[in-house]
Amino acid sequence: MLDPEGRVQSWNTGAALIKGYRPEEIVGRSIAVFYTPEDREAGRPAKLLALAERDGRVEDEGWRVRKDGSRFWADVVITALRNETGQLIGFAKVTRDLTQRVQAESEQRRLEGERIRAEEALRIRDEFLSIASHDLKTPLTALQIELYAMRELNETQRDERTGRKLTRASRNADRLAQLIEMLLDVSRIATGQLTLRRETFALAPVVEQIAETMRGSAERAACEFSFQAEPGAAAIVGSWDRLRIEQVVMNLLSNAFKYGAGQPVTATVSRQHGEGVIEVRDHGPGVPPADLERIFERFERAAPGRNHGGLGLGLYVSREIMRAHSGSISGRNLPEGGACFTVRLPIGSAPA
């Protein structure tokens, strides 16, 4: 309670807890002591009392000061008290400490700000990927045209050594093109633009054809490579994106040749439980069990360190391609050693 001049008349436990004063320390002192120096200078305590006197009641939110000088955000209600004749006899003042609410609000604002910044960073990254891959493709296009023309020229001149060099240079320009395409795929996935161009085709011949084109890679990795279509595989027909399926198979085979170099690699196509199944098995070190899920995430790869180059995007993109097909891709280690990657595709026409 305050007297008509705003001096503390009585002091309860609640007020003592919030502001830290014992009754004998505060009774008789002006409420101005609870205000910040700025508020005191602005005459805020007196103004609030005047408003309470005029209107009967005033509510105010703002900083208040504890005995130890620390500040807290308070909600203060001051009510004018009058006797039967209407004469002002003092004020009732109730103070609530809102610091926690204000802190919670400020924390929420901070989190919201962080969320907006994180989204912005993702947007900038995807835009960067898109622009960077566009810009990288331009010189690569010129390079590939020249390499192609040089290989043609050399076909008439038949210089074996030059031929080998041009083959290697072309192969690496192609690899560069694939890497750039993969960066673009990541940006497409992130922006929801990975769309399928479905056509109906038989799975086994397509996988076999890719296996054939990858023979050179198998030889360079000294992998004995075999492809097998199991009985009944010829009947596996579905509505899929041919180029995307080829991309997944190429990715699995190049991984097998990379991690299982010098050891046999097999690829099979079979029908299991009404699904088209492609399996690629190698005899490399296998994948640490803890990493079997992680390797399908972005920028992850099982073998840490610098043994193998690459961004580790291939399996991530493959997984997204399989998801878009309502299929799946998974990896497991084989009891006899090595890893096995399995792709499952729904057979038949595409879901509407």
Partner: protein, 129 residues
């Protein structure tokens, strides 16, 4: 509509000097005439008489001065050259969609397959010989 006179000249429109020069040389190596333009505006100038119109236009999309789609608009407004087929080549990730919007006969995503390009030229142009 008067039947399109098949010429043996390919117009290569690309602002990248190296791509343009290597494409022209590549087409010449395969027995075609080829001329280059560094943007849509230069390309339009090459379509005007007294020059003979090209049999095929290989069109990049993103170019300074006048880009591929602006060029295509201008081309379609000129009856004498509106029917010349256009192949869109671009490193844009949505090259197919853009090519479709522009009414191109075909599209090639950079870096492109040169055998596919040769096939398109052979389908649309007479051999110079």
């Amino acid at each position: 509509m008067s039947p399109h006179v098949v010429s043996d000249k390919v117009l290569v429109v690309d602002d990248d000097d190296d791509i343009r020069d290597s494409l022209i040389e590549f087409l010449e190596d395969h027995g075609h005439h080829a001329v280059g333009a560094a943007n849509g505006s230069e390309a339009l100038a090459l379509l005007d008489p007294p020059q003979s119109p090209p049999c095929l236009i290989i069109l990049d999309l993103m170019m300074p001065v006048m880009d591929g789609s602006q060029f295509r608009d201008e081309q379609l407004q000129r009856p004498a050259v509106a029917d010349i087929p256009v192949v869109v080549v671009s490193a844009y990730k949505d090259v197919e969609q853009r090519a479709h919007q522009l009414g191109a006969v075909q599209w090639l995503a950079k870096p492109f397959d040169l055998t596919a390009l040769l096939r398109l030229v052979e389908e649309n142009c007479a051999f110079a010989g």
